[in-house]
């Protein structure tokens, strides 16, 4: 029972965690149109768009475990054209989902040796959206960064486990004791994968060597982090200069590794988010939820082509909507539902999704600047999230509330991507 960083964070909202894990498990490990190794590779591609080393590592291991061809890990140039073709919509969905059109869909589905089936495509799209959104969460909750200096208490990362979150959750309480044991064990559990590692090594000894080093370093460092954590819990903020220094070293080192590692999964790395509003204001381009909503349209389509996923996603969206946040809202001086809706609509607004029945002036009243900056960063370019931002965002709020905001971001972003992608598919089908 190894507690995973993401699981650990989401564990603040157990009902949600449950439904999240169900979805993750269904997407990755249950019946579906795509072969298992492809699923993990798509997840790698998606996470790489945001340079999320954490998710990439996780899925690389799983990819190999699912019997994936290690050659593929050398980058997009080494994968079958069919998968490579997906890169285009991966890029668009990750950064500017409003650009996706039925032509993109048509291109993928056009009959050829490498054509996708509609069901496969829908599976892939859900996977992409899921992983993009999860990246936001990973960065937003600090699961990605190595130990940052000071004060983040429970926001300690664990190196990505060798298991999917959904597998590793049997009967876990979030007890600190367990966590500590787990951290100690993390090195051992890495050993299990030696055989996989060997396979990886055979392909690119050099990079892998660095990775191994990094992992070891990370683990060693986590050990120290643990002591530091005890210090924090004692209420005194003193940490030894040494450990701070070390962690900084590790940070920079990790940065470099990740950059070299992940670039191979990406094409056109400069393509990034661009403000939707800054484009020339064209009313027809705005996505109107009243014309294409998840409940009425998206659900039916996705459930039709990839059975049961609709219900799981639906449950997840409902769950995040139903999370209790009254304390948080009260501090902001408004109703919980109003507050949640504000965040949700603000995120959708960044992707050009508008609600006829919402007065967007409300957003400015509800959300203070720092919070808005935080939300925008985490949503649009999660890789730029840094610890300062995290610290300054909402000092007055409890940790679980911060996680709640991150969950809202995760789900809103996922729904936004899904809406655009599914609308394009619908248009294609007409």
């Amino acid at each position: 029972g190894r507690l995973e960083a993401v699981t650990q964070q989401m564990g603040y909202h157990p009902q949600y965690l449950d439904s999240f894990l169900k979805t993750q498990h269904y997407l990755m490990h249950m019946d579906g149109p795509l072969p298992f190794d492809c699923r993990h590779y798509i997840a790698i591609m998606a996470a790489a768009r945001h340079q999320c080393r954490y998710l990439v590592n996780l899925h690389v291991l799983q990819f190999l475990r699912a019997g994936g061809d290690p050659q593929w890990l050398r980058g997009l140039d080494f994968i079958p054209p069919k998968l490579r073709n997906l890169n285009e919509i991966n890029k668009i969905l990750a950064h500017r989902p409003w650009l996706i059109t039925k032509e993109h869909i048509e291109k993928l589905l056009k009959i050829s040796e490498w054509s996708w089936s509609l069901a496969e495509l829908v599976h892939a799209v859900v996977l992409l959206a899921h992983c993009h959104a999860l990246t936001s969460f990973v960065f937003g909750c600090g699961c990605e960064q190595d130990e940052g200096p000071g004060g983040r208490g429970l926001l300690k990362p664990l190196s990505p486990g060798n298991q999917c979150f959904c597998e590793a959750t049997a009967g876990n309480g979030c007890s600190q004791e367990l966590l500590r044991i787990n951290r100690k064990r993390s090195l051992d559990s890495c050993m299990e994968l030696d055989s996989l590692r060997e396979r990886m090594q055979r392909i690119h000894v050099e990079t892998e060597g660095r990775e191994e080093m990094r992992l070891l370093q990370q683990d060693r460092e986590e050990g120290e982090g643990q002591e530091a954590e005890v210090g924090v819990q004692d209420g005194t903020e003193h940490r030894s200069d040494l450990s701070v220094g070390l962690s900084h070293l590790a940070d920079t080192d990790g940065e470099v590794t990740s950059a070299t590692n992940l670039a191979c999964y990406m094409q056109d790395p400069d393509f990034g988010y661009q403000d939707f509003a800054r484009r020339d204001e064209d009313q027809t381009q705005v996505f109107r939820v009243q014309d294409y909503s998840w409940e009425d349209h998206g659900f039916s389509l996705v459930n039709r082509l990839y059975s049961d996923i609709g219900h799981l996603l639906d449950e997840k969206f409902r769950m995040v909507d139903g999370l209790q946040s009254s304390a948080m809202a009260k501090r902001q001086g408004c109703e919980p539902s109003v507050f949640k809706r504000g965040i949700w609509n603000y995120i959708h607004c960044m992707f050009g999704i508008r609600y006829d029945d919402y007065d967007y002036a409300e957003v400015n009243q509800l959300l203070e600047r720092m919070l808005k900056v935080y939300i925008k960063t985490v949503t649009c370019y999660p890789e730029k999230t840094n610890s300062e931002m995290f610290d300054r965002f909402w000092k007055q709020f409890k940790h679980s509330e911060k996680v709640h905001v991150n969950l809202l971001i995760l789900e809103a972003r996922m729904q936004a991507e899904l809406l655009y992608a599914l609308q394009a598919i619908t248009q294609y089908m007409i």
Binding site: Q290, D291, S300, L301, Y355, D356, D357, I430
Partner: protein
């Protein structure tokens, strides 16, 4: 209903005419509504709000209500409704949450009348009261419904659904005060317009959002709902609980439902996604739409019957920016294209298949079905005069396929199951015994397998000493090498074994031919076989005359002979290659083209007809090389897999049990479990309870083993009041009586009731009837024990009577002596009784009861003890734990006709 009547007469004098037609709109429509005179239709959408008049053969735009240079969101309509009493009155639901009313009588260009901005979210639906001019109802995404009086500025009342978004609201047509609301969470609520505090009733209609509902225009109680779960359901609301009376499964989420006027059971639906057609269903025939309109190119968003009393004209608006008038006679009727068929199994396994006569080719072989004359074969449907479609009189043919009694017989299975020995003797003996059993039933292949297993796994020394004499090197001509290898077995048994999927359904004789030819083909591909030095001739030379017919082919084709005899290598394929020429093996493996479905490497090898060595040489080398016995495990595993795949799970399981640990680890645990469950299931189907129990007991799978420990608790009902008894098994809490009476004596009792037994109340005789071990008692299932004792038992001729054993049984102190499950079996009316079958009873033996409470130890007379299965220990918390354990299986007996059979052992002590 005066108003309605007037409309009807108006219609009568002025019948609608028209044709299927459409017009282009400028923008996608979200909803449409008709004026009461059926001459005008309003179309509303995000960017459109227009009124069209419906002419004879075209739509003519009458009025554009969307005015102003840059129309506000108030014009973006989610829904529109035209008042059915006032031709000038319209209402729209705007996507921004505003409810707008429009007065066409206004002189200005802008006809906007009132603006209600009370809803916080998008308004999904507006609805006018059918008879009240000024009453308007709205349902919104924010979960509220509001009722407006058009003469006032604000809403008169607000209804809170206390749940998620309201998707539809509809006033009941007949009940003045009632309206229905449907919700995104699947609920439907009924409200009284006068009571805004709470709903009258609520029920869950769908899984997921209920997008729409419609009251039946005539039948006051019927409400149709359509949901995202692709269902249309019709609810009867007259009863206290809403009752689902019809359900239609469509192929996409249901966006709108509209009852068809004048047709009680017809309903029109359209979908929100993917499916662009409009369907008209007869709710009594839910599998195929009775009519279908396929004109639209994008999803249909609004459907409305043009006139309240005219069933032939349907208007529809769509996202493809068209407005259509559909005429019913132009509709396509899917039923015309359907091929009605029926398929059904009879009680006795006969299969009946009915289809249109034209579809079934006349087959001269068919004999007329002489069915059960008690039942009429032909039915005539009484035509419903209100039915719109005439039913074409059709003829159909009914074919009945009867099971061939001969071929379906499973006697061999039962016999095999009964005669197989699975444990308790040395392996070699078991194998021999089973081989004999199989052979006795003409199952030569299986017999052969057993023999081979014996050779493989029983001690090498014993076998080899026999074989040594016959080894090829000595040139012996005595053919039968090992105990039961004789030539007759080899070709037929192995021949059919190797048929695999090439000729699954063929009979055995054909297989041989098939085989030789198929292997021949393989052989031609493979030169090495040709070259190998085969002792086939030699084998053949010894064949006796009567076996010649089996080898007819072979005589004509000398190569084929080799194949016949090459097949035995299946069990010993690698021998020479490993010893002499290991490189050749790899080569062969690469080349081999196995026809087997699950061909893994080992199988591939075993199937290659390459190495043609006789059995003789094999046994010889077997001796010489002293192969470890697990050397053959992969092959044995493949054999088992093969049998299981062929459907003969019996052989697979039996071998598995007999070989035990020798083979267990070779086979996937789950596969084993699967075999076991299949076999046990089969055994129980044939009511071979004892054998299935034995199999369960012998199985090494934990999942199977514990089958016997499940369901050991039985719930007891009082025989007087029929209520479940809670804590004690013998006294009913309610009627304060002893729940069951003794079958023999007039007293009530507690404890075990067995056939002929009576509760161990003091001083009462307990009687046991013991059948000899080889005899299974036959009890009539509908006869009580007492009846058996009084009626059947005395009539039995003395030799056939079971041995009666009686004894005074003083009950142990406190509590029931015997576990309750057995009591229940007896006490519950209609339950199967416990049949004690006592094979191998040794009443002479005594066991000391080690039970802490004692059970009458030392008291003369017979004691009955219930024991948990050997090795299971005492089942904690169960009555069984009261009883002593006994490890020796011989003197213990059980058996019951219960399912699942509890592993309770009964020991009879003197």
């Amino acid at each position: 209903m005066e108003k309605m009547a007037r409309v009807t007469t108006a219609l009568g004098g002025n019948a609608l005419t028209g044709r299927t037609m459409f017009c282009h709109l400028d923008a996608p429509a979200n909803a449409i509504s008709v004026c009461r005179d059926a001459a005008q239709v309003v179309v509303a959408g995000r960017n459109i709000f227009k009124i069209y008049s419906i002419e004879e053969d075209q739509f003519v735009e009458k009025l554009n209500l969307r005015v102003g240079r840059k129309p506000s969101l108030n014009f973006s309509c989610a829904d529109v409704v035209w008042h059915q009493m006032d031709e000038n009155l319209l209402a729209t639901a705007a996507t921004n949450g505003v409810v707008v009313t429009w007065n066409l009588g206004k002189p200005s260009r802008n006809k906007q009348d009132q603006l209600f901005t009370e809803h916080k979210r998008t308004v999904n639906k507006v609805c006018f009261h059918p008879t009240e001019v000024y009453m308007l109802l709205s349902g919104s995404q924010d979960g509220y419904m509001k009722c407006f009086d058009l003469r006032k500025k604000d809403s008169v009342s607000t209804f809170s659904g206390q749940s998620e978004s309201v998707r539809d609201v509809q006033f009941s047509i007949r009940d003045y005060f009632t309206f229905a609301a449907t919700f995104e969470n699947g609920n439907v609520q009924l409200w009284d317009i006068r009571r805004p505090d709470r709903y009258e009733r609520m029920f869950t209609a769908h899984n997921g959002p209920v997008f729409c509902c419609d009251w039946h225009p005539e039948d006051r109680g019927w409400l149709a709902t359509g949901g995202r779960d692709k269902m249309v359901k019709v609810w009867d609301m007259n009863t206290t609980r809403a009752k689902e009376i019809y359900c239609v499964q469509t192929i996409a989420s249901v966006a709108r439902v509209k009852w068809r006027p004048e047709c009680k059971h017809h309903i029109a639906t359209c979908s929100m996604m993917v499916d662009h057609n409009i369907y008209v269903w007869d709710v009594r025939r839910p599998f195929i739409p009775s009519a279908m309109f396929e004109e639209h190119k994008d999803v249909t968003t609004g459907i409305v019957w043009r006139h309240l009393h005219d069933p032939y004209f349907l208007l529809s608006g769509s996202k493809d920016s068209t407005l259509y008038q559909h005429i019913f006679k132009d509709a396509s009727q899917p039923i015309d294209r359907a091929n009605p068929e029926g398929l059904c199994y009879s009680l006795y396994g006969d299969l009946a298949f009915a289809a249109k006569e034209s579809l079934i080719s006349s087959d001269s072989n068919r004999k007329p079905y002489i069915g059960d004359r008690r039942h009429p074969i032909f039915f005539k449907r009484k035509l419903d005069p209100t039915e719109q479609f005439e039913y074409i009189s059709s003829s159909s043919a009914l074919s009945v396929f009867e099971t061939d009694v001969e071929s379906g017989s499973m006697d061999w299975f039962v016999h095999t199951a009964k005669q197989y020995a699975l444990a308790g003797r040395p392996l070699a003996e078991l194998c021999d015994h089973n081989a004999k059993v199989a052979k006795g039933l003409d199952r030569n292949q299986v017999a052969q397998t057993w023999t081979m297993l014996r050779i493989i796994y029983s001690s090498l020394g014993a076998v080899s000493s026999a074989n040594l004499n016959h080894s090829m090197g000595k040139g012996s001509t005595a053919l039968p090498l090992m105990n039961s290898f004789n030539l007759k077995d080899i070709p037929s048994g192995l021949g059919s074994e190797s048929r695999l999927d090439r000729s699954k359904g063929e009979s055995r004789a054909e297989n041989i031919l098939m085989d030789s030819s198929s292997t021949l083909i393989n052989n031609e591909d493979n030169e090495e076989t040709e070259g190998s030095d085969v002792p086939a001739d030699y084998l053949l030379g010894d064949v006796e005359a009567d076996e010649d017919d089996l080898y007819m082919m072979d005589h004509e084709n000398p190569h084929a002979e080799e194949q016949e005899y090459s097949l035995p290598q299946e069990a010993f394929p690698l021998r020479h290659e490993i010893v002499d020429n290991p490189s050749a093996l790899d080569h062969l493996q690469d080349k081999a083209d196995s026809p087997h479905v699950s061909g893994n490497e080992a199988e591939t090898v075993s199937l290659t007809p390459v190495e043609s060595f006789s059995l003789i040489s094999i046994s010889h080398s077997l001796y010489e090389n002293r192969l470890p016995s697990d050397f053959f495990n992969p092959i044995v595993r493949d054999t088992l897999l093969f049998y299981a795949e062929q459907g003969d799970v019996q052989t697979a399981v039996s071998v598995l049990i007999v070989l035990g640990d020798r083979i267990r680890k070779e086979i996937d645990e789950q596969i084993q479990e699967h075999w076991y469950t299949s076999y046990i299931d089969l055994l129980q189907r044939f009511q071979l309870w004892n054998i299935s129990n034995e199999v369960i007991k012998l199985s090494t799978c934990r999942a199977i083993n514990c089958l016997n420990q499940a369901s050991t608790t039985l719930h007891v009902n009082c025989s007087n009041c029929k209520r479940p008894m809670s804590n004690r098994g013998w006294i009913c809490d309610r009627c304060r009586q002893c729940a069951s009476m003794c079958a023999v004596c007039p007293h009530g009792g507690k404890g075990l009731f067995v056939r002929g037994g009576c509760p161990p109340s003091p001083g009462v005789f307990q009687r046991w009837f013991l059948y000899p071990p080889d005899k299974t008692p036959h009890f009539h299932p509908n006869e009580t024990t007492l009846a058996w004792l009084h009626h059947t038992y005395p009539t039995l001729p003395p030799p056939q009577r079971p041995r009666a054993a009686a004894g005074v049984h003083p009950p142990p102190r406190g509590g029931p002596v015997l576990p309750r499950p057995l009591v229940a079996r007896h006490a519950q009316p209609g339950h199967q009784r416990l049949h004690l079958h006592l094979p191998g009873v040794e009443p002479g033996r005594t066991r000391t009861c080690r039970h802490r409470r004692g059970c009458g130890e030392g008291v003369p007379g017979r004691h009955l003890r219930l024991l948990p299965p050997p090795g299971k220990g005492s089942a904690r918390g169960r009555p069984l734990s009261y009883w002593c354990r006994d490890q020796e299986p011989d003197d213990v007996l059980v058996f019951t006709g219960l399912f699942p059979p509890p592993w309770i052992k009964v020991v009879v002590l003197p």
